[in-house]
Amino acid sequence: MDQFQMQFVSFARLVMLAMVPYVLASQGTMLGGRTGLFSVSQEGIMLVGASLGFLGAYLYGSLVYGMLLAMFVGGLFGLALAYFTTTLKMNQFVIGLSLFFIGLGLSTLFPKIVIGVTLQPPLIPTLPDVPIPGLSQIPILGDIFFNQNVLVYFAILLSIFLYYLLYKTSIGLELRSVGENPKAADSLGVNVSVMRYVTAIVGGMLMGLAGAYLPMVYTGTFTQGMVQGRGWIAIALTFFGGWSPHLIFLGALFFAGVEILALRVQVAGVGVPYQFLLTLPYIATILVMIFASRRVRAPAFLGQNYDREKRTLS
């Protein structure tokens, strides 16, 4: 392999690595959105997921426990969102923000209770790479796609599965109909509330896992605010991907690419102050929103609550 090829492979590998939290959080957002639930608590759920994922792994000595704990709590947040908005019919933005606050508060509270305030926080082992036999031997592609940690594979398979579920099965059709026109879906016998509860809980679990990924792959420990806006970016990314699993996956690659590029340029040192490079993902997000506002449509009933006793929608 020549110099350029090695550079390319290592860049592409890192992009695949960095794509995971975006994919998980955005697919979770997409699921809820497809039934009309617009969550804005991603950042908070991811923070709690990062915090508890780290603590679970630290206390029980296994990353799997950390992931399960993060997903469990993420699911609880999803359940809360569904209950307050679908059953109690409260404003989705207000509830989403409240859950974001609670997640933010809990994320720093748990480590203080469990570990206490220390100068040197304990470390957990990071998620190991699991080469897939045979496939990982393919030159270039093997290194990029088949010599990664399990969550990279999971993110890819999840995106394929969700695409199949949404567009090739009747459940997917019903699910999409709830977000487009819940009244029509209801009249055809689709249980709107159940759909919303399920997507909110599964979505929350994915967001929790997305958070747990950060200490498990990047840092080995939890630090305050370590999600760094990825939860908010995931919302933009979901819009950008037109609420479709396959496009969201591509969008996640784009954002991961921006993130890695900014890091690379920073390390290489090109004379631009590093602070400006750090803003790249956020500026990219705004640009992407401008693009999405023109070309992409969101589920028609996004952000609204459905009351079957009301005559009209909205």
Binding site: M90, F93, T108, Q275, M289
Partner: protein, 347 residues
């Protein structure tokens, strides 16, 4: 006479109807966290008395509370004014930071000017810079219809890099360990309202802003348009109100208010720009605005209550080693219970 009595009775009843859900929410939130406290083994009563009474035990505690009150009130207004028009400004943090940068820049560059000139310039710079930072998402909303929640949050993250650049590259104070600028000119500092313990006059500006905003929204035709837009944008458009301009202006005014709080932090509290000076004011400001249900009359009172809790929380962490986050959870729970009381009332 009897008519007057019934009227008085009605208004007392109305006030009670408003206050009772709040009181219940506060009690319920404290009770819920208290049970957890007791289970973990903390001294619940001492913790709660520290949280509630630190502000009133010493003059210093009270001044600390007022100092905290100023940014909280302004952040809450920065969130509530756009909310009146139905828009969510989650960018108060960035607007505060950029306002603070503007104030510090003017205070440093023109440090030789006398107070009569420099202080107004510093305040104005904070307002203009904060308004500008909000104008970007406001314009994106106006021009492209882009959801303001996301863009205002993104502007926060961009502002973190900006303040870091200003405090480490442009006007860095080499003697400080933490990213900090050199001090602003003495003429840019707020005069003290009380000398000991020191209380700067920023609180006067904050309260004035609260009064002006309240009067404008509730007593002028422009304010009426704003409220109508928030109540029903579609009907307002039919009625001839340019709702998109209302969205735009309400967000910019929100940014200006947050920028003012940035200027007060620089010119009143720190006398320089310090990275991290925004603290967690944004989140608390949103909590205050939502707790007050967007009511501009209630915001100053709720903000004071939260300032008391926050000062108490720091004291509790200092003296009892109980993490401040507990109080944040209490605040979030109060908000949730206040919101839930609406649901209960609806039934």
């Amino acid at each position: 006479m009897s008519e007057q009595t019934t009227e008085l009775g009605h208004s007392i009843k109305a006030l009670a109807d408003t206050l009772i859900p709040y009181i219940l929410a506060v009690v319920a939130a404290f009770a819920a966290v208290g049970i957890f406290f007791a289970a973990v083994g903390f001294d619940v009563l001492q913790a709660y008395s520290t949280i509630l009474f630190t502000s009133f035990r010493t003059p210093n505690g009270f001044v600390q509370t007022l100092l905290k009150y100023v940014p909280l009130l302004l952040q809450a207004l920065a969130f509530t004014v756009p909310l009146t028009a139905g828009k969510f400004n989650i960018g108060g943090e960035g607007q505060l930071i950029v306002g603070a940068i503007g104030a510090a820049a003017v205070g440093i560059m023109f440090s030789g000017l006398p107070m009569l000139l420099l202080l107004p310039m510093v305040i104005l710079a904070g307002i203009v810079f904060g308004g500008f930072w909000a104008a970007i998402p406001a314009w994106l909303l106006y021009r492209f219809g882009i959801n303001e929640i996301l863009t205002t949050v993104m502007m926060n993250f961009i502002s973190f890099s900006l303040i870091d650049y200003v405090a480490t590259e442009i006007w860095r104070d080499p003697t400080a360990g933490h990213p900090t600028t050199v001090p602003i000119g003495a003429g840019g500092e707020f005069p003290l309202l009380v000398a000991k313990p020191p209380l700067n006059s920023g609180i006067v500006l904050a309260l004035a802003a609260a009064v002006i905003v309240y009067v404008y929204v509730n007593r002028t035709p422009g304010g009426y348009d704003l409220v109508a837009t928030g109540a029903n944008a579609r009907a307002s458009r039919v009625f001839g109100i340019n709702v998109r301009v209302m969205f735009l202006l309400s967000l910019i005014v929100g940014g200006a208010l947050a920028g003012l709080s940035g200027a007060i932090e620089v010119a009143g509290v720190h006398h320089r720009l310090i990275e991290g000076l925004q603290s967690n004011f944004l989140l608390l400001g949103i909590i205050i605005g939502l707790m007050a249900r967007g009511n501009l009359l209630a915001v100053p009172f709720v903000a004071f209550f939260i300032a008391v809790l926050e000062v108490g929380a720091s004291a509790m962490q200092r003296t009892m080693m109980i993490p401040v986050e507990f109080v944040f959870i209490v605040e979030a729970l109060i908000l949730l219970f206040v919101l839930l009381s609406d649901v209960v009332r609806r039934r």
